[in-house]
């Protein structure tokens, strides 16, 4: 089992959600997060002065899935979250040792 952690633009959440639904991926945890990448933020101007905003709001999607589904999910996220501009985000994939559904006590793939 794998955990996919995708950090995307907040305005892309709906599109990513819909694309994942189409390939049968329903479960996810979504958080509002803040952070920065290589571009070090954006510039905003208030009353004639520039301010660098270097911690930007992003959306984090966490999905735990079977190993066989990982590539499809990753592709769906890339296709829908990509604008081509700096700040599109990143996807991290890591291994998950065990998953347990609290309601039934099921474990492993069955619990996903």
């Amino acid at each position: 089992m794998k955990k996919i952690l995708a950090i995307i633009r907040p305005d892309k959440l709906e599109a990513v959600k819909n694309a994942l639904e189409k390939i049968g991926c329903h479960g996810m945890t979504v958080r509002d997060v803040k952070g920065r990448g290589r571009q070090l933020g954006v510039t905003e101007n208030y009353r004639g002065r520039d301010y660098r905003i270097d911690i930007l709001p992003k959306t984090e999607i966490e999905i735990v899935t079977r190993e066989t589904d990982v590539e499809g999910i990753v592709q769906a996220i890339i296709e829908t979250a990509k604008t081509g501009d700096i700040g599109d985000g990143k996807i991290f994939i890591s291994s998950v040792e065990e998953v347990i559904r609290i309601r039934t006590g099921e474990r492993g793939d069955k619990a996903i």
Partner: protein, 408 residues
């Protein structure tokens, strides 16, 4: 004279309009411009200021400002706690067609907004208790005397200085006090202006623009031609100020900004305030245009170079525009608009400009020095600044045990 119900009706409405400017106008305008962790504290500063001034004004403030003149410096307390004034149903000496009580509460709203304006400079780091101490002391030692000098028959009025609705009394005193207070208080750890909710500021600025008709047209103290004239030049100056700031934004950064538009409108309103009852539309266009450009440069060029932390630019906008309008009277005052003046430079009268400059200088120095002294004393006794930890975490939770946003 007898009571004029038309004048009285207009002044009741004007008074309510000026109340709307502070609560919720200034509260919303300022509240949107700060970090979200300080929104409640910022709004409360305006609200509580209005409450404190509302009480003190009738205990002694009105009498000290408008009571019988003593040596050109201060009025005298003849009716403490407004005793007997309401009972006597007398008409106001300075506005003989409306009740004294109505004139007094109209003037109270000016005192309240003046002190509330200062709060914009010190938000995000001043102790609430220190602000509660500052309000009554500053009202008594700075606002009341200056209002007496200009409006209550004091020495500046006797010299012929003009201030129709408070360019000197309201905007200059508060703007200079803001500068003095932040110099004693010190800069925030993060001195950026990062508005958390510009929508609030749009509503606040809209209410200010709307309420300003009570402020300026109400200062005619009657429902007649002068009120109409003041209303038109007020609106014109605000509109020109807004457009001028957007023009500056476009020239300097390539994009017009909403906060710039709001700031320009406030600059136009503040600058026309002292002149509203003395000038025509052409003058209002010139005043609003130049005041906006001066204010733009004060906040975007002067402030970063001098390094003081006037958080919401009270000095940069109100102070600079108060001076601009007060001086402009000396140029544009028009006896055809208001017969109390023989006119400014454009009418061949050079004396008025000198008097206006003197009034601006005297009031600026007085407000600055007194505010520094008051701030230093409060700092010694109870301290002006919150702790570093409270400043970083925000004042709402730490000083009031409330938070403005609990969205889940």
């Amino acid at each position: 004279m007898i009571l004029d119900s038309g004048d009285t009706a207009w002044m009741l409405i004007s008074t309510a309009l000026v109340i709307l400017m502070t609560i919720p106008g200034v509260a919303l305008f300022y509240g949107g411009l700060i970090r979200k962790e300080n929104v409640l504290n910022t709004m409360l500063l305006s609200f509580v200021t209005f409450a404190i001034v509302s009480v003190l004004w009738f205990i002694y403030g009105y009498d000290l400002t408008f009571g019988a003149d003593m040596w050109g410096v201060i009025g005298s307390i003849t009716n403490p706690v407004f005793n007997g004034v309401l009972e006597s149903k007398s008409l106001a000496t300075l506005a003989p067609t409306i009740p004294t009580g109505l004139y007094a509460i109209f003037q109270m709203t000016f005192a309240a907004i003046t002190v509330a304006l200062i709060s914009g400079a010190v938000v995000e780091r001043m102790k609430f208790s220190a602000w509660l101490a500052f309000v009554p002391v500053w009202l008594t030692l700075v606002y009341v005397p200056v209002a007496h000098w200009m409006w209550g028959g004091g020495f500046l009025a006797q010299m012929g200085a003009l201030d129709f609705a408070g360019g000197i009394v309201v905007h200059l005193t508060s703007g200079i006090a803001a500068l003095a207070l932040v110099l004693v208080l010190g800069a925030r750890k993060d001195i950026r202006l990062l508005p958390h909710h510009l929508g609030y500021s749009v509503m606040g600025a809209g209410l200010l623009w709307f309420g300003w008709f009570g402020f300026n047209a109400g200062s005619a103290l009657s429902a007649g031609n002068l009120a109409v004239s003041a209303m038109i030049v007020t609106n014109t100056s605000a509109a020109v100020g807004m457009i001028a700031w957007m023009l500056m934004d476009k020239l300097k950064t390539g994009k017009p900004t909403l906060l710039g538009a709001l700031s320009g409108a406030i600059a136009g309103l503040a600058s026309i305030t002292p002149a509203a009852g003395y000038v025509n539309v052409t003058a209002a266009i010139i005043i609003g245009f130049f005041a906006s450009i001066f204010a733009y440069n004060a906040v975007s060029w002067l402030k970063p170079r001098l390094g003081y932390d006037d958080a919401l630019d009270v000095f940069g906008i109100h102070g600079i525009c108060g001076i601009t309008g007060a001086v402009a009277i000396g140029i544009f005052a028009n006896p055809l608009i208001n017969s109390v003046t023989t006119g400014g430079i454009l009418f061949g009268n050079f004396n008025l400009l000198g008097v206006q400059l003197l009034a601006v200088a005297v009031v600026a120095v007085y407000s600055f020095v007194l505010t520094v002294v008051i701030a230093k004393i409060i700092d010694k006794i109870i301290g002006l600044r919150v702790t570093d930890e409270h400043e970083v975490q925000g004042l709402d939770v730490n000083l009031h045990e409330e938070s403005g946003y609990r969205l889940s």
